[in-house]
């Protein structure tokens, strides 16, 4: 098949496995149980069935349990929404959380908050599941034995006396990077009480390099704030701005805004990506250059030299050519950056060394971008990440200088560099206090363990990346009496056990100084932020020499031995391991590789072929005397010689979901090679391991599914995406005349493939988690999948992303084959799915050309722990075994919007009803609403010239349609790009 777009290497090579997956609706063995059912279990099951059958004749008694004293404001059955904040290192997301009778169930972004803008990300969506994690730590532990917080307070008070006597000489606190006024105040108090104590930060993946680089360039550490929306030319250097970056919501919104095209006359920004791994940002770039991570400093030096030659006033020395970088490419990039002075943006990723970040800051300053597309602000109230602090701490621990170490969040015994010997050094201290959500790897080594409260259980505050202040407001009392970070820090600082509310309010009495504190405080709680507290960017006086430094850094890396390199990337799903016990995230397919429940070693097909490796072959990877065995997965478009390892897997103390999933990449990570390791050897281990990938699932054969064109082509032929096929039907078609008629338009030009919609759908619609084995059999339940297509050659592919929910066809093929009318149409154009009628023939799924129906092969929710049931949306049925299910356009939200409008005595208006995916999408790529309302956003989008329907030739008349994607290649390079003209599949 000479497809221009392909889903996987398997499809391109037409491998038998890939063909089998495409040809069969349900994979071989899809109807088999996960493990052979023994005769004994079978008899047991039969017995249980018989006894249940006997009971069925009597009406089961059901209880109604009302409140004793009704809480004010709670009306049973009516969800309430509260603003709160999810702190995330030195940034924070403002959220609005839905609560049903006091139990938080669904998270949305806060429209007023500058970091979330009403949208969210996959991680933000999934954070509600962590609250109900049944494996959360539930008690204070003293040497592994249950104790109480009062005992801990007493023990700490005793120790504190001794430490206070010598100014905290032998006391250290290891904290996560923070940005919170209250914590900053308490840490300052702590330093006052113990002036000689160490306060060190450690996070396995952080902006430490960026901060160090900016400090080198500007003379002091400043936090960068990028404004992607204002940039017309963007260069991402090993930077995953649109996915792994903590500010991905704001960046994605800005990126989509800079590229939103309403008609052929509109302009688009241009994204250039230089990277070793295939990232979401690379997949969305107009020009992507694959380059091993260690050559990126050299690329920066070469770019600087080129810019200087082209007239930019910088002190860049002449640079030699970088292998793999064509002069024409570099020239076009330089030209684009220079043409957009003041509206261009250069960003380097956290993996790149400080020298690169310094040079990037200097480039941005020279290009006039500082103050427009990028700001560098003072890190007020922040506890900044530092890369080296942990090493010094371990040295002191090992030397026996520290008696007490408090680990304030984080899991360093798992994620500290392997060569530091952190776990061994812990034994030298008298007392190790671990504060965390789980009895994890670090808690197992600690003498005290204090359970931490989830952010939905805590009072706190935070500054967003731009500096905007907001309050972390709890929605529920701690489920297990856990303590918030503010409370524990307060205890450490002052020795007093004060409630978090008091501590936070004490800070805010200073922030909201003046009259009417209560009123203004309540306003902050209500709005979820204190407006106009963003910190303006500082003036950047760049010191000279940054480019010479990056050139010498490049030289040092170029002379590193070996042709292979390991690049460590934080899994964008698991946050370096903290979310490893989150089933939604584990089962979420990786945005590019589509792997679930695993972290294989990623490499380019050529790198694998040179060593005779195929997908799922286990290799022994050695670096710096340490080794790790894990399976290989080939990813097209990666730099040759680059091996990518995801951090966050291979946990041993994560809990029932995360234990033993994947491989612990921290085992190979050293303090010197936190981001990159070059002394690497790779040998086949002679075994194979199974990977659960979803990329072959739900294939729609080689049709024109993705449609894209260059902006130039679009200007010449605006209707390049539309179909001209005449369609006719065999029967009289139903007319849809009443209001509303629901419809959805997904703008592929805005979608970046970030997965936020997919998790939002899972959270809203009680979609179950099925596990790795079931995913391998093609039984994953996601109602909204994101198809990722590669385009072009295996070596230099582009990528395209397509979210595929149910199309809600007007002529739905599924409805015609259902023998029991369990799937039927309603008057508003919804293809309704009636679970209680479904008998599980699966004919509908067989007849669905879009492959969006999911079948409950098992009672996937049967063994759900009680506490985990609390996360379910009470407005949506929890489906049973043997029932088909699929996207309903969030019919529960439509219903409640209609009733709300009716009771308010008005017509339904645009925006009243929003689907979960639409609300979550940071790119605003999903429009939904009433197609009969011609003024609605969805109706306007549907009538745009880029609109097309998937498989329109089948005359299914889908209600969900797509807007074709546009690329904006540089005129000098346009011919070389895979998407030159408006053609989709061959």
């Amino acid at each position: 098949m000479s497809a221009e777009y392909w889903r996987s290497l398997g499809e391109l090579e037409d491998s038998p496995e890939s063909r089998a997956f495409r040809e069969r609706e349900f994979t071989e063995g899809a109807s088999e149980p996960p493990d052979a059912v023994s005769r004994r279990t079978l008899l047991g099951l039969l017995g249980a069935t018989a006894s249940l059958a006997g009971l069925a004749c009597r009406r089961p008694e059901e209880h109604i349990v009302p409140y004793v004293e009704a809480p004010e404001q709670i009306v049973p059955g009516v969800p309430r929404r509260y603003a709160t904040t999810l702190p995330n290192g030195t940034s924070a997301y403002g959220l609005v959380v839905e609560s049903h009778e006091g139990r938080p169930t669904k998270i949305e972004g806060n429209e007023l908050h500058p970091a979330s803008l009403g949208s969210s990300s996959a991680r933000v969506q999934a954070s509600v599941l962590d609250l109900y994690d049944p494996d959360r730590s539930q008690a204070v532990l003293r040497r592994g034995q249950p104790s109480s917080y009062a005992d801990f307070v007493a023990a700490w008070t005793e120790r504190a006396k001794a430490h206070a006597a010598d100014g905290g000489e032998s006391l250290a606190v290891l904290a996560l990077p923070q940005s919170s006024p209250t914590l900053a105040r308490l840490v300052a108090d702590f330093r006052k009480s113990y002036p000689r104590a160490r306060v060190v930060t450690w996070a396995p993946v952080s902006d430490a390099n960026a901060l160090a680089g900016i400090a080198r360039a500007a003379g002091r550490p400043l936090l960068p704030v990028h404004h992607v929306a204002k940039a017309r030319a963007i260069l991402a250097l090993d930077a995953d701005l649109l996915h792994a970056d903590p500010e991905m919501i704001r960046h994605t919104r800005g990126f989509a805004a800079g590229r939103r095209v309403k008609g052929p006359e509109d302009a688009m920004s241009r994204l250039w990506a230089v990277e070793a791994i295939f990232s979401i940002t690379g997949g969305n770039a107009d020009h992507r250059l694959r380059l091993p991570a260690r050559r990126i400093p050299a690329f920066v030096a070469a770019l600087a030299a080129r810019l200087r030659a082209d007239g930019l006033a910088i002190d860049a020395p002449a640079a030699s050519e970088v292998p793999g970088v064509e002069a024409g490419w570099l020239g076009a990039l330089a030209q684009d950056l220079l043409a957009h002075r003041g509206a261009s943006l250069v960003v380097a990723g956290p993996r790149q060394p400080a020298a690169v970040h310094a040079a990037v800051a200097a480039l941005n300053a020279a290009l006039g971008n500082v103050g427009t597309t990028v700001e560098y602000r003072e890190p007020t109230d922040a506890l900044l990440p530092s890369a080296g602090g942990l090493g010094e701490l371990v040295t002191e621990l090992a030397a026996g200088k520290l008696k007490t170490l408090v680990v304030l969040g984080g899991n360093p015994a798992y994620d500290a560099p392997a060569d530091l010997g952190f776990a061994a050094a812990l034994g030298k201290a008298e007392e190790i206090v671990h504060y965390g959500s789980h009895v994890d790897e670090t808690a197992a080594l600690a003498s005290w363990h204090v359970p931490s409260a989830h952010f939905l259980e805590s009072w706190g505050d935070a500054r967003a990346a731009c500096g905007t202040l907001s309050v972390v407001q709890p929605l529920i009392l701690p489920l297990y009496g856990s303590k918030s970070l503010v409370e524990v820090t307060g205890l450490l600082a002052s020795g007093e056990d004060k409630p978090g509310y008091e501590l936070v309010q004490a800070t805010w009495r200073g922030i909201l100084a003046g009259a009417d504190f209560d009123k203004r405080w309540n306003r902050v709680l209500h709005d979820g932020l204190l407006p106009e507290t963003a910190i303006a960017g500082a003036k950047l006086d760049v010191r000279p020499g940054a480019f010479a430094e990056v050139a010498s850094a490049a030289q040092a890396l170029a002379s590193a031995p070996g042709e292979l390199e390991i690049v460590f990337q934080a899994c964008p799903k698991l946050e370096g391991g903290a979310s490893a016990n989150n089933g939604w995230l584990q089962e979420l397919p990786d945005a590019i590789s589509k792997v679930t429940w695993d972290n294989p070693l990623l490499m380019s097909p050529a790198t694998a072929a040179a060593r005779g490796l195929k997908d799922e072959d286990v290799v022994k990877l050695q670096s710096g005397g340490r080794s790790l065995e894990l399976p290989v997965l080939r990813v097209p478009g990666m730099a040759d010689g680059t091996l990518a390892l995801s951090l966050g897997y291979g946990r041993t103390h994560a809990g029932r979901v995360g234990n033993g999933v994947g491989f612990n990449a921290y085992a190979l990570r050293t303090a010197a090679g936190l981001d990159l390791a070059t002394d690497v050897t790779l040998a086949p281990a002679g075994r194979r391991a199974d990977l659960a990938q979803t990329q072959e699932h739900g294939a729609m054969e080689g049709r024109r599914l993705i449609r894209e064109a260059t902006l130039e082509h679009y200007k010449q032929e605006p209707k390049f995406a539309s179909d001209e096929t005449p369609l006719f039907s065999l029967w009289t078609e139903h007319e849809y005349k009443t209001k509303p008629q629901w419809g959805m338009v997904i703008d592929l030009n805005a979608c970046t493939g970030c997965n936020a919609c997919s998790v939002a759908c899972q959270s809203e619609n009680n979609v179950p988690v099925v596990g790795k084995d079931q995913v391998r059999r093609g039984r994953e339940m996601a109602w909204l999948r994101i198809d990722r297509y590669f385009t072009g050659s295996v070596e230099e592919p582009g990528a395209a992303f397509q979210p595929v929910p149910c199309m809600q066809c007007e002529n739905a093929p599924c409805e015609q084959v259902c023998p029991v009318a369990a799937t039927v149409h309603d008057a508003e154009g919804l293809n309704a799915m009636v679970y209680n009628r479904c008998i599980g023939t699966r004919y509908c799924s067989n007849n669905c050309p879009y492959k969006v129906r999911r079948f409950n092969f098992y009672n996937f929710t049967k063994d759900t722990p009680r506490v985990l049931k609390l996360v379910n949306n009470p407005d949506v049925t929890v489906r049973a075994r043997g029932v088909m299910e699929k996207c309903t356009y969030c019919v529960q939200r439509l219903s409640s919007a209609k009733i709300d409008a009716r009771l308010a005595g008005r017509e339904l208006k645009d925006g009243d009803a929003r689907t979960a995916c639409q609300q979550a999408c940071p790119a605003e790529a999903i429009r939904f609403g009433d197609l009969m309302d011609l003024e609605s956003q969805v109706a306007k989008a549907r009538s745009s010239d880029r609109t097309y329907a998937l498989l329109a030739e089948l005359n299914t008349r889908p209600r969900t349609t797509y807007q074709a994607r546009l690329r904006n290649p540089h005129p000098a390079l346009a011919a070389a790009e895979p998407v030159a003209k408006g053609e989709g599949h061959a």
């Binding site: 349990v65 009704a70 009306v75 049973p76 149409h825 309704a832 219903s895 009733i899």
Partner: protein, 215 residues
Amino acid sequence: MAQIFPQSANKFPLVLALAGVVLPAAAVGFVWYYFSPRFTDVGYQPVQPVPYSHKLHAGEMQIDCRYCHASVERSAVANVPPTQACMNCHLLVARQAESLAPIRDSLKNGVPMRWLRVHKLGEYAYFNHRAHVASGVGCVSCHGRVDEMEVVRQVEPLSMSWCLDCHRNPEPHLRPLAEVTNMGWKPARDPQARARQLEGLRPVKPPVDCSGCHR
């Protein structure tokens, strides 16, 4: 040659015919009625932990339904009142009544009452009280004359066909919003008077599609 079949064998076809028609018909009829909500659900009258009398409270004393079931106009569910609501009156009235001991204990110990649910729909059906009450459907239409019941029982089948009967022809069941909780209210016979009764109601368009209730 002796006859193979005895004389009585002549009746076989008749017996077979009878058995073939009557027995299946009986079986169908049996299932039709005895498995239906009309038999299984109507009349369900569980014994509640406290012998609360709707007849006394709602009937004789004329307490409005919404005094206790306060969320009916605002929520999908019509709440069962918190213990506190009982004690609003019973702190003053019948303070020492034997039958009220569980209520007093509940308030004292903070342990909620466990009432037995009488009106129950399948969990796949999402009924919304708020929408019905706001459209002018009286409580009595589904719950019957609760004001005349000593112990509440189910009087309607609450089956899907019963729901749809009204959804397809809602007009006879509508009443002025002020009369929604009035158990004894009767629609006027005279068409003009009836029209006046329904003046001011929102036009109703109850859903008859599956997605109206099932999701």
